[in-house]
């Protein structure tokens, strides 16, 4: 097992596309590290560079103590699970699992033992004698995971392994992967564009945008204090409300008069935007104390909560998360009030967190 160190990674494809501008990652031994970002931001390219399937243009990659820049994939001792499972179609499950081991030239008994162990871990018993085309999508993905396990590699790389599964199965597999990683304690780099997956899986999350790392942090840090406007808009469902604010008499004030708890050390003389989570706002009776007038545009009833979209300051997209007991009709005049702690505040021009 080993940590992974990526330093100043830059990848430009021969056709001129710059897929990775600059990426620095320091992944600890035994960590479940998630790379999160929208499609096309360079996640796969970064992962393939770590795997050795793609040669970076510049930058260094260390796995453990070893500089692996010039090592072929086979010598990096890592396993990768692809979005398209890439099970060998002409081999039964059993042989698909045994394949990497036979390639290593392990003795028969050892191969058998490891295949049985992986099959037990991923509960593949009844599937061992089937070929891939007779497995469902979920089963194929379990086999692909087992195939990564048998090698007992120093690290797992996962490229959106659950994207092709339906929602329910995806949630199950997520739990399973997390459990497995904890059990084995093997370093895992997990790539996804799904923030829910990232939040629920990762020990730490790196948010990528246009080939750059925007933020690295624990799920909580990433949620509470997104490092940039991009992260603020990307994490959370619904995402943060980005409200233009001014500093006046030590208070953070929106144009409508909505008052927010100010964070310390606010810079002066800059245009600022506050990132306010939907749960840090409250819809109240009109005229309630500390509230500003607003109007309900629409309400999404989700059972355990209601997401109100309210018209505030001429913007019709402020989202508020309320318990299901608080009910207002669409179009009703209401009050809007900030109820949380100091929100993260961003500079409009640099789009970065300033306080």
């Amino acid at each position: 097992m080993a940590g992974i160190e990526v330093t100043a990674l830059h990848k430009r494809y021969p056709d001129g596309t710059v897929a990775v501008e600059q990426v620095d990652l320091s992944i600890a031994d035994g960590e479940l590290f998630v790379m999160l970002g929208p499609s096309g931001c360079g996640k796969t390219t970064t992962l393939r560079a770590i795997a050795g399937l793609e040669r970076q243009t510049t930058g260094d990659i260390h796995i453990g103590e070893t500089l692996v820049n010039d090592l072929p994939p086979a010598e990096r001792d890592i396993a990768m699970v692809f979005q398209f499972y890439a099970l060998y179609p002409h081999l039964r499950t059993r042989d698909n699992l045994a394949f990497p081991l036979r390639a290593e030239g392990l003795p028969k008994a050892e191969v058998q033992e490891r295949v049985d162990e992986a099959a037990r871990l991923m509960r593949l018993g009844p599937l061992l004698d089937r070929r891939p085309h007779r497995l469902s999508g979920g089963e194929q993905q379990r086999v692909a995971l087992a195939r990564a396990l048998v090698r007992r590699p120093r690290a797992f790389l996962m490229d959106e392994p659950l994207t092709n599964l339906d929602a329910e199965l995806r949630a199950d597999m997520r739990t399973e992967i997390k459990h497995l990683q904890g059990e084995l304690g093997t370093t895992m780099v997990y790539v996804t564009h799904d923030q829910v997956e990232a939040m629920s899986l990762g020990h730490r999350i790196a948010i990528l945008n246009k080939g750059r790392v925007e933020q690295i942090g624990t799920p909580l840090e990433v949620y509470d204090r997104p490092a940039s406007l991009f992260c603020a808009a990307f994490i959370g469902s619904p995402p943060m409300n980005l409200i233009e604010v001014e500093v006046a008499d030590g208070k953070l004030r929106a144009q409508s008069g909505l008052v927010l708890t100010p964070p310390p050390n606010l810079p002066r003389d800059r245009r600022l935007v506050a990132g306010v989570r939907p749960e840090a706002l409250e819809v109240t009776e009109p005229g309630a104390e500390g509230s500003v007038p607003a109007r309900v545009v629409s309400a999404e009833w989700l059972g355990d909560e209601i997401i109100y979209v309210v018209d505030h300051d001429g913007r019709r997209d402020v989202r508020v998360r309320m318990p299901p007991t608080v009910r207002f009709a669409a179009d009703a005049p209401v009050g809007l009030r900030h109820s949380g702690g100091p929100p993260p505040v961003y500079d409009v021009s640099t789009e970065e967190l300033v306080a």
């Binding site: 399937l53 692809f82 060998y88 179609p89 002409h90 070929r131 194929q140």
Partner: protein, 303 residues
């Protein structure tokens, strides 16, 4: 060449898919359609039928006037003449058939060996100006053989490849490689690159990964492509007649054509030789149809 392949490939399915008369409206229309198709079929198939008849008629009946459609005496003498010379021993035609087998077989094998890895490389790697390169490769097929045969003739004379099987093999290979690259690139594109990626992570080199995982999945595609290349080489006439002259080198198409043109023409022999010549093509064309329809991947990958 292309025409014979297309026909052979399409007749079967076309018959199966004759649309129900209802769709076009009216029974009358359906009857008309069938009648027209029947006329067309007769016109198209009559020469073939006549060739088959001629090949099994005795010479007396071949030259009979009026021509005999039925009631002639059946003989296989013409087929014997194709293979056995009149004085005993092997005939010149049978040598020509053997030459055809060698030339078509070797040139197809060469084109496959050269073209499949090239197609794989074009499919898998980023190559500078890939599209232009591929277009250039295809453009070598734009010119019909008759246009390039004179320069080729002059070049071959310089290097001593005139009237030489190797000469024919090389030129047929040159014609088949572009075709093989283009057709195989389509098949390789269909096989997900992840198989090779996975194999490389499992400890194989890139070439081993190609050889052990991608190649087996490509076999149906290779078979189909090779059959087309084989048909081209087998049927090719222009280069063969310009570049070869002796019986020991000549392939079957110019050899059969050479049967016509003396003072008397042995039509029975021409017909029998033509049938012997056409049969492999028909068989192969039938195989192509099967493979072209078959998917390449076996359904393990969901996109």
């Amino acid at each position: 060449m292309a025409i014979s392949v297309d026909e052979a490939v399409s007749t079967g399915p076309a018959r199966d898919h004759t649309p129900p008369a209802r769709r076009f409206g009216g029974r009358g229309r359906a009857v008309l359609e069938v009648a027209l198709l029947a006329v067309l079929a007769v016109v198209m198939l009559f020469p073939v039928l006549w060739m088959i008849e001629t090949s099994i008629k005795e010479n007396r009946d071949v030259y009979a006037i009026p021509a005999k459609f039925f009631g002639f005496k059946v003989t296989l003498d013409h087929f014997k003449d194709v293979f056995v010379a009149s004085g005993g021993g092997r005939s010149a035609l049978s040598a020509a058939f053997l030459n055809s087998v060698v030339v078509a077989g070797v040139s197809t094998a060469l084109a496959t060996v050269l073209g499949v890895p090239a197609a794989w490389a074009y499919s898998r790697f980023s190559v500078k100006a890939k599209k232009d390169q591929l277009f250039f490769i295809l453009s070598t097929r734009f010119m019909p053989p008759v246009v390039v045969v004179i320069p080729i003739f002059l070049m071959y004379r310089q290097v001593g490849l005139i009237d030489n099987k190797l000469g024919l093999i090389l030129i047929y290979t040159a014609f088949n490689v572009p075709f093989t690259i283009w057709m195989m690139k389509g098949f390789v594109d269909e096989v997900p690159a992840e198989y090779e990626d996975a194999a490389m992570l499992d400890g194989y080199t890139r070439l081993q990964a190609f050889w052990r995982f991608t190649l087996p999945l490509l076999l149906p595609g290779i078979a189909a492509t090779a059959v087309f290349a084989l048909i081209f080489s087998w049927n090719e006439f222009v280069f063969a007649i310009f570049l070869t002259s002796s019986d020991s080198v000549r392939t079957a198409p110019p050899a059969i054509a050479g049967l016509i043109g003396g003072t008397t023409v042995d039509w029975g022999l021409v017909a029998a030789a033509s049938i012997v010549f056409a049969l492999p093509v028909l068989v192969f064309a039938y195989l192509v149809r099967k493979h072209l329809v078959a998917g390449v991947t076996l359904g393990a990958v969901r996109r």
